[in-house]
Symmetry: C2
């Protein structure tokens, strides 16, 4: 934008009558005097300067490319706007809608939630059935091969077959993720956390991502990696929700022309919460846990009706999964085993707990916290290594294949070395490997590897005491711990829930056995119960969820009695783990430098005020603005502002007068695209009217300004922003403390918060990055640097 400083005469309140405004002038709003503006003369509170463009002279320089670390905040992420732009168009629409029409909207919301639940449930069924069949096929092939070679003595050939089989399956899974849709990697939970927090992660809720995610997770699990298929369900649910609620798909280029009312960030985010909850619900058969997950991770403003809808979607999801799977498994309409993973029924009569065991549970929580912290720390170093050296897709695929082959080899060696034979009778092992065991016996170590991790977890919970050799369990824990840690962060779609549970269940069971052995049976420790507590402790130590995880575990075990000890274990694990290092998801979010807003401002931040926190100077627009100025501001690539305060100058003084409204970049783009402006000579003409529909059709992918052609004549036209701007943006005075600003921003899910002085003049703007920058470090408040990466 040109910084030419000329005095412009504005004639009072309605510049449309302003006929004496000279045509052809470049009319910046005010003389630029921001830090670094050359030749600025007069200090004004609201200025057309862009601090990002004047990089070198700013107090905080933004390096262009630096190695990732957690002391950075990326500027590349956009925010979602949970605040409706209440402009005249919107108000007119809302006023036109009568009570009955609102009821229709409400019913539509419920219908969408039902559809989200049904589709999420069906996707979960699909994953489950395909994984079961493909994995079964693989195990049969390998088992036949091993059985054939055990006696002949050429077992290294079996190993080779197993490793190649796994590696090639994983290769396919990794290739589609790395080359087609990298955002589908991992569990997707950090991404959904960010989305619900209000950060727009590119491509995260697209249909293509869903397809890659579903195929990827199937291939990862079938490829024998130490992963689960539960985490990705949350991401899948979220994509389904975003797709259905918008009534169209960009990937398919189809617009069904339905649910157009919901085409804005506010509504979409609500539905995505429901989708995430439905995903959790389908994964663990935990509808209440799903609701709490969504709330714990996402909701800033608790709304009763929204929560009910989320709950409804969750319930429908579990119910659908349950119905379909019960039909598939032949015992139609027995709806008692919901969820992809079902921990099986813990019978309370047999397995109560007494008050003396509580210190033991707390101790297990401590162990879980320490092991979880170790897991996270190792994964942190690994991730840093990956960010630095393994950023090319083909390297990522090779790493994934390597991990798959190593996993197979480790499994094979452990089975080979194990001499833990168990009688085959009475056991429910699906693919018993005899190997060097006597006839009628099978290798117990092999069951752990010849099973999807879900089944292994259930076995560890429910197998009768004595089913496992302590040595086997110890070796298994150790190996699986490192494998799972290596696997998380690979370029494959996979979750960390099940591997964590499996590690925990293994050491928990070992702990239970040892306890019973040490106390010579005086404490009769049921190994299954301790396996459950170990699983909770390990998972809690890694992901650090408490409330929702407690409820998920309660629902997955179908047991309310264990609620109290599980809660104790999870809280202890969280406290101990937090002492060392952050939770896994938060760690990865920080490594991505996402401007994530936590629940509260750092406790010691009362000394900061809005004045220190805000970005300044702010690019403002006049209520009636020259088109050329708007185009220049939007085209300025160095500043990528998305909201512009609209002001009006006071005719009597030289000061800029009060704030009148706020307009978004996306709205301006739509206005320019539809040529909503009048010639300067004919300001009294009425400019073209737009409808809300025009804005909704463009949502969410507004074209870039470069794609909009504005001729030189058009540049001199005037655009009246009055009816498109939000006339009542939320504001804070500049003396407000950071916690106060934070509270307002977080509670209302804002994207822009205008800071004004005592005369309601714009002095700055607070956005997400301004707040996310302050963090509570080990030595008190610390400030992150901003980076363009």
């Amino acid at each position: 934008m040109a910084n030419v400083a000329k005095k412009v005469s504005w004639s009072g309140r309605d510049p449309r009558d302003d006929e004496d405004d000279r045509a052809g002038e470049t009319t910046p709003l005010l003389n630029g005097t921001g830090p670094g503006a050359a030749g600025g003369a007069r200090q004004g509170p609201c200025q057309p300067a862009h601090h990002v463009s004047q990089e070198t002279e700013l107090p905080r320089p933004y390096p262009n490319e630096i190695p990732h670390n957690e002391k950075l905040l990326s500027l590349k992420y956009e925010s979602l706007d949970y605040d409706n732009s209440e402009n005249q168009l919107f108000l007119e629409e809302e006023r036109r809608i009568n009570h009955a029409a609102f009821r229709t909207v409400e019913i539509k919301r419920w219908v969408i939630c039902a559809m989200i639940g049904i589709l999420t449930g069906l996707v979960a069924c699909f994953i489950d059935i395909v994984v079961e069949n493909l994995a079964g096929l693989k195990y049969r092939v390998v088992k036949d091969n091993i059985d054939k070679f055990t006696e002949k003595g050429g077992l290294s050939f079996s190993l080779l077959l197993w490793a190649i089989l796994n590696a090639s399956v994983v290769m396919v899974g990794s290739v589609i993720v790395a080359f087609i849709e990298p955002v589908a990697a991992g569990s997707g939970i950090p991404q959904i956390k960010c989305y619900l927090n209000g950060v727009k992660i590119p491509h995260v809720v697209r249909l293509k991502t869903l397809v890659i995610k579903v195929c990827g997770v199937i291939l990862s699990v079938v490829g024998g990696l130490a992963v689960g298929k539960e985490g990705p369900m949350i991401h899948s649910g979220a994509v389904i929700a975003a797709g259905i609620s918008q009534g169209r798909s960009t990937s398919l280029k189809r617009d069904f022309k339905i649910f157009e009312y919901f085409r804005r960030d506010t509504e979409k985010r609500d539905f995505v919460s429901a989708g995430a909850a439905a995903g959790v619900s389908a994964a663990f058969g935990a509808p209440v846990g799903g609701v709490l997950f969504s709330l714990e991770e996402g909701a800033s403003f608790w709304n009763q009706f929204l929560t009910w809808r989320i709950f409804f979607a969750s319930m429908i999801s579990t119910f659908t999964l349950n119905s379909v799977l019960s039909v598939y498994h032949g015992n139609a309409w027995d709806l008692s085993s919901p969820g992809l993973i079902n921990f099986g029924r813990f019978d309370t009569e047999k397995m109560g707990y007494t008050i003396q065991e509580i210190p033991i549970f707390i101790f297990m929580g401590v162990v879980g916290g320490i092991l979880g912290a170790l897991f996270n720390a190792l994964n942190y170093w690994l991730t840093m290594f990956r960010i630095r050296y393994i950023h090319r897709p083909c390297l990522q695929v090779i790493e994934a294949m390597l991990v798959a082959a190593v996993t197979a080899a480790v499994g094979f060696v452990m089975i080979y070395c194990s001499r833990d034979c168990q009688p085959i009778q009475g056991s429910s092992v699906a693919y018993p490997l005899q190997l060097f065991c006597a006839d009628g016996e099978y290798n117990s170590m092999a069951t752990a590897f010849f099973n999807t991790p879900e089944k292994s977890v259930v076995n560890l919970f429910h197998d009768p005491p004595g089913s496992y050799n302590p040595m086997t369990l110890g070796m298994f824990t150790l190996m699986y711990f490192f494998l799972a840690c290596w696997t998380y962060g690979l370029t494959v779609s996979a979750g960390v829930f099940i591997p964590s549970l499996l590690i925990g269940a293994a050491w928990g069971r070992l702990f239970g056995i040892s306890l019973s052995y040490l106390t010579k049976g005086s404490i009769w420790a049921d190994p299954g119960k301790y396996a459950l507590m170990g699983a909770a402790a390990q998972l809690g130590g890694i992901v650090r969820m408490t409330l929702s995880l407690t409820v998920i575990m309660m629902e997955a075990t179908g047991n309310v009695t264990y609620g109290f000890p599980i809660m104790l274990v999870l809280m202890t694990a969280k406290i101990v783990g937090d002492y060392f290092v952050e939770g896994l998801y938060d760690m990865h979010i920080q490594l991505q430098s996402v401007p994530f807003l936590h629940w509260e401002a750092p406790v010691t931040s009362h000394s900061l005020t809005a004045r220190e926190v805000m970005s300044t100077p702010v690019t403002c627009l006049r209520r009636i603005e020259r088109v050329g100025t708007v185009v220049d501001i939007l085209s300025d690539t160095s500043s990528n502002h998305n909201g512009f305060p609209v002001v009006e100058s006071n005719p009597n003084t030289t000061q800029v007068a009060g704030l009148r409204g706020l307009i978004l970049r996306s709205q301006l783009i739509v206005l320019l695209k539809h040529k909503v402006f009048v010639e300067r000579a004919n300001l009294s003409l009425v400019q073209r009217r737009l409808k809300l529909k025009d804005f909704r059709d463009a949502y969410p992918r507004f074209p870039p300004i470069q794609s909009i052609h504005v001729s030189q004549d058009e540049r001199e036209c005037m655009i009246d922003l009055s009816e498109f701007m939000n006339p009542s943006p939320y504001t804070v005075p500049q003396e407000a403390s950071l916690p106060r600003v934070f509270k307002l921003f977080r509670a209302l899910g804002l994207r822009h918060l205008v800071v004004v002085n005592n005369h309601n003049e714009v002095v700055g703007m607070v956005t997400r990055k301004d707040l996310a920058r302050y963090r509570l470090g080990k030595e008190g408040l610390e400030e992150l640097s901003l980076a363009q990466t």
Copy 2:
């Protein structure tokens, strides 16, 4: 306040230098020109007029005494302030506190929550044990008497004994409530809902209330009324929480000098949420349900840490109750039956449900909704009758005794007329009445009346098919329905949860039996399962909770599988019930004309703006104000404002200049009490400094202005409000729509929201009553009138 209009000279920004201000003047802030102000000359945006004081000339007259109806909003309720007054004192304190000290505060919060849980659990134990023993004693006495007279034929004497026994017990319970603490009447749930919503109900969280509540509920249950002891637990938990968190008791006149940091509305309300959750948790053994109840009813801003603490308190509460009761019942440390009422374990293997039953469940939801609406409508008329005619305490006591006697008589007549005999062997009836049955048999109808309602509910759920005669069930449902309806709203402490469940369980079981009979057994309807669904439907139809009630029912049955049908039933009941009449609690809240804020503004209220909603003119104060003016404003009994915008006049113009802050009545009172002012002649002197402690010591019962003596000399002193006012109150522009204002107000739990114009000048104030006034009626938006009652 005197309305003398004189021109006052204000000399610039800091009136402390204002030496030429004439002493002895009555200096109203501005000339009053509000509607009705006599002789007003100049229109200003911020005025010292009080619209309440000018009753007759206002557009909305406030009648002084009118019969209660639901189209009124009472002005007598104060609001709680969830917004911290961030004045200099507060900021200085927060800045002084370092990171470690904040951790101490956090630990204190957890300790308080643990104590809340333990004490709530113990209170629940106390109630349970006392009720069990006293009720047992009563049943034995009456049973012996009946047994004695059955053969002799003088059963009317037994009836008399029974009725007198009940009536006298209820009399005591009613007397203590009616004469000592009327707020302890009922279940307390509406009151706690209001408190969590932000309405201060006098006496609701006092220790005295707790004592009366506990004794009252014991006496009501022992007195054989159709009531439960679960609802009052929620109120009890809330009182315990309020008491512990403040570290003192006004009833006992003890201040333990601990937890002084928490002496403000924000913190107290958080703890009260935890207490309510702990109460639910103790009542139903439903910790998650408790958390959801608190959130559903109270939380406006969802905060993760707060929710964890609430959950912790709930868990501790269940655990305490569980431990103590298990010791009391002799099977120490068996922690598997939490809660005052435990619905017993529904064994899923035996009692699954199939998809074909879902329409039947929905139908039951419809029935529940209709019956619930009928219940509420009857209770509405009854309550109106009570408000009009039975408002004297002695009449209330007599009514309670009458109900007790009638309940006994109805029970007696039904037992007498019943010929439903069941074999005594194999049944677990505590007090079997033989009456006219054969030897070895007992009267089945008698079990329903010779039992606390909790036990009857469990019996209806779990007794094997064939235990009940359909005729018995039908009669019982009918009678109990009317008795429960008559009982709710009596001046006794009692809950409606259990009677509702009992009615529902009775007709649900009847429904199950009929179904099995009609389809000739082709649908094998387990009566227990249908009793559960009926109970859910009836309770849902009456109280209209969905999410939290679903979880409470799931947890109380210890069964996750029934989650989906219970949810369906509750939702159907809510939808059907809402079609006819509001939920019972909401109805009673409305009958009390409480300014209750719902979750969202009425959907069709976009046409209203802050300008139309706000109260105007507003009484403003200057930053440096004359003491006499402050005293006059506070003493003005006709206006009972609690927050005053602080403004500063612009020296150059005649206009009042921008808003500078907001100060509360309570703060002004403390300032006056501590004589924080300087003589007008010595404005340069530093006025006395107060500490936050001074404000906290006065919280929550600030003395009335009348108790503070201000001499004539002192009246002429000046008071500097700068460091005590909140310098950054939340504001909205006057164009903001009602939903937008509502959202800000509700999300942040505000008490005062200042409406400003484009120049940041005060034009009005939005308080709770301004927002609560608009409601969605049958014919669209309706506006309630305000009343002083």
